[in-house]
């Protein structure tokens, strides 16, 4: 494999460091662990990698009840029991009732796949540890049949975490890690332009100015993210808001701030600063 496979795609803008991290993880065949504020495109990264390398993406959305083994395979006992009673299905063949999970499917596949293990921190604390062996070897044993499934082509594994739980060190040691920092203004402008190719410069400038100002307000508990900025600009363009009135009115604030307390805090902050035209600047 070459070392510069991943360059970001037309609609997914990355920093050079993130590109490096992706390429290193692909070359070293180690899982890529991605952290970052919500809305910085952690999940989208896996899609972009799959897009660029022209591979199929298999999504594993981790829930609080997810077990590591579910990602490999599930033995559908109930279906088998049902078939044995009411006929239908090949009951004698236990393999018929082994259903591969996301990671299992990727390991068993003939072609290389991209696996997204999304929000791994939602699961139980031991979840990552339970996957160590499988991620190292890219092979697993189906206990019911004794089959050993090994990857012909090691899948590219992208893991995202929102820091709800800390991940065990043994797990971290096996990963390539990248923290997606919140985009600086220049990069953000590029990102917005991907979604709004023909946005007016005035509107964009004003929106970005307000957006970064909001993010800096200490009262805000949940800071608005990239995806919210994009929605905000979409709302303002559709409503035909003039760039000048963005500063004055902060229209559609509810698109940016989702918490009642944040909204009222900003309203207070604005009234404190007297003239609404000059708040916080």
């Amino acid at each position: 494999m070459g070392i510069d496979q991943f360059k970001g795609t037309a609609d997914y803008i990355t920093s050079a460091e993130l590109r490096d991290a992706v390429n290193i993880s692909v070359a070293l065949e180690k899982p890529l662990l991605i952290k970052g504020e919500p809305g910085t495109g952690k999940t989208r990264l896996a899609e972009a990698i799959a897009d660029q390398l022209n591979l199929e993406l298999i999504n594993w959305n981790v829930k609080s009840t997810s077990k590591a083994v579910d990602g490999l395979y599930v033995y559908d006992t109930v279906q088998r029991l049902n078939d044995s009673r009411f006929g239908g299905g090949d009951v004698d063949n236990i393999r018929h009732y082994i259903k591969y999970g996301a990671l299992g499917r990727a390991i068993a596949a003939d072609e290389r796949k991209v696996v997204l293990v999304d929000e791994i921190d939602k699961a139980d604390m031991e979840f990552p540890n339970d996957l160590l062996h499988e991620l190292d070897r890219m092979s697993f044993t189906v206990d019911e049949t004794g089959d050993v499934i090994s990857a012909k082509q090691r899948p590219i594994v992208v893991i995202t975490s929102n820091n709800e739980k800390e991940l065990p060190d043994a797990f971290l040691r096996r990963c390539i890690f990248h923290f997606i920092a919140f985009p600086e203004k220049d990069l953000m402008e590029q990102i917005v332009r991907v979604h709004h190719p023909d946005v007016e410069q005035d509107l964009l400038d004003q929106a970005l100015l307000r957006f970064y100002w909001l993010r800096e307000q200490p009262e805000i508990r949940k800071r608005p993210s990239t995806s919210e900025l994009i929605d905000w600009i979409a709302a303002m363009r559709r409503a035909g808001i003039s760039p000048a009135s963005i500063e004055e009115k902060l229209p559609f604030l509810g698109v940016l701030l989702k918490r009642e307390t944040d909204l009222s805090a900003i309203k207070q902050a604005r009234s404190r600063s007297g003239s609404p035209r000059r708040f916080g600047m």
């Binding site: 460091e17 029991l81 009673r85």
Partner: protein, 408 residues
């Protein structure tokens, strides 16, 4: 050079394992570094640093190691050198040590942090790490004799404080491990029991029964086994608890993230819970204690976290008021007793080390609640008590007699 770099990173507190180091060599020999320092920077960071909280440490380590090195510097030649003779020296070279020493102000800070870090490592993984910076047993500042809060945290911290603040920013990886450790300790609270409520299909039993039934399907339902622990966490914030904010946060995030409680509620109080508890420490808003008590019963478990260090008035008199009130029915101590009566299965966790539990208010509170230090060991002991083991200390289930109040 590369080995020196490895040891330089380690000296700065990055726990780089040999596996990770070899991965880096692997990546470099695949051409990722592209001979440039910038390439080395991002490659080494992706492979060696696993927490964003360690980025800052890495940055400073990288900066100080490569300071003054020519931009034309060819990393790959160095790598070839190293690969042809990959030896690991036991220590940093004299030259590098000197370079670090010359790093004036930052060096001062780094050395301090390094020392803190070393200290931390000795405790790490054990059961006895206590407190936070530990600069002062009573968390500096605190109270003046009349029980009026001094705004500042007290003297003697200026230089230290800067470093300590940095430490929380930079070495949050220590906390990371701790949260896991606390989480594991809390896990022991788990008490699986047959729950009432909707029954679930018991697959194993159904298969057994169906087989016994010659293949005729027999569905067996059983009540699910669920963890029944319901936890109410009350935390002291502000004032003398400030030095322990970090530690309390750890306990909180561990308890909050643990999805093994049937129910979990948490409120804050200041010094001692009175008629009002707080949900939000910035706005001091929340339900009344009476309302909270109405929602819970003796199947709950209450864990109170506080240093129990306050003016006795705050405990024995109404609302901690200065003037004597003849009726003690709403004193802090009364509220504490009320909570304990409602939920007998309660403990108090104190972030202060056990050996300095000498304050009168601590003694008084211990007559109501079994008290344990807020360490892994202490939490384990507290969990034992809540699971029904006998504590090693008096655990008065019955209300405290007035005479214990009269030590004042």
């Amino acid at each position: 050079m590369f080995t020196d770099f490895l040891f330089h990173l380690r000296a700065h507190g990055l726990k780089v394992s040999t596996t990770e180091w070899l991965s880096l060599m692997d990546a470099m020999s695949r051409g990722f570094v592209k001979s440039s320092l910038a390439g080395l920077y991002s490659t080494a960071r992706a492979v060696l640093v696993k927490k964003e909280t360690e980025y800052d440490i890495y940055d400073r380590a990288f900066g100080s190691f490569f300071e003054g090195i020519d931009a034309q510097f060819d990393v790959s030649e160095e790598l070839l050198d190293w690969l042809s003779n990959p030896k690991l020296p036991k220590q940093l070279s004299e030259e590098d040590l000197k370079k670090i020493k010359e790093y004036d102000w930052d060096t001062l800070r780094e050395e301090f942090e390094k020392r803190l870090k070393e200290q931390k490592e000795r405790h790490d993984g054990g059961n006895h790490w206590v407190g936070t910076g530990g600069t002062s047993a009573f968390g500096s500042g605190g109270f003046n004799p009349m029980g009026i809060r001094v705004g500042d945290q007290g003297g003697g911290r200026s230089a230290v404080q800067v470093a300590t603040d940095r430490r929380f920013q930079n070495l949050r990886s220590d906390r990371v491990l701790d949260t896991r450790q606390i989480g594991s300790a809390l896990r022991r609270l788990r008490r699986l029991a047959k729950d009432s409520g909707p029954e679930e299909l018991d697959i194993d039993l159904s298969i057994d029964e169906s087989a016994r039934n010659a293949g005729e399907i027999e569905l067996v339902f059983a009540p699910p086994r669920r963890n029944r622990v319901k936890l109410l966490l009350l935390m002291d914030v502000g004032g003398s608890m400030d030095p322990y904010a970090e530690l309390c946060e750890r306990l909180f995030s561990a308890a909050n993230a643990a999805n093994h409680f049937k129910a979990f509620k948490h409120y804050f109080f200041h010094n001692c819970p009175y008629e009002q508890l707080y949900e939000n420490i910035e706005r001091w808003k929340g339900p009344t204690t009476a309302d909270v008590l109405k929602q819970i019963d003796n199947t709950w478990t209450v864990v109170i976290v506080g240093d129990a260090y306050m003016h006795p008035y705050e405990l024995t008199h109404v609302g901690g008021a200065i003037h004597y009130h003849h009726s003690n029915s709403d004193s802090g101590l009364d509220w504490l007793r009320r909570i304990r009566r409602r939920v007998p299965n309660s403990v108090w966790l104190n972030p202060e080390p056990e050996r300095i539990w000498t304050a009168p208010t601590i003694r008084l509170i211990r007559t109501v609640y079994p008290m344990f230090p807020l360490t892994l060991d202490g939490i384990s002991r507290a969990v034992d008590v809540m699971r029904g083991a006998r504590p090693n200390e008096p655990n008065p289930a019955d209300p405290v007699q007035p005479h214990s109040v009269r030590i004042w």
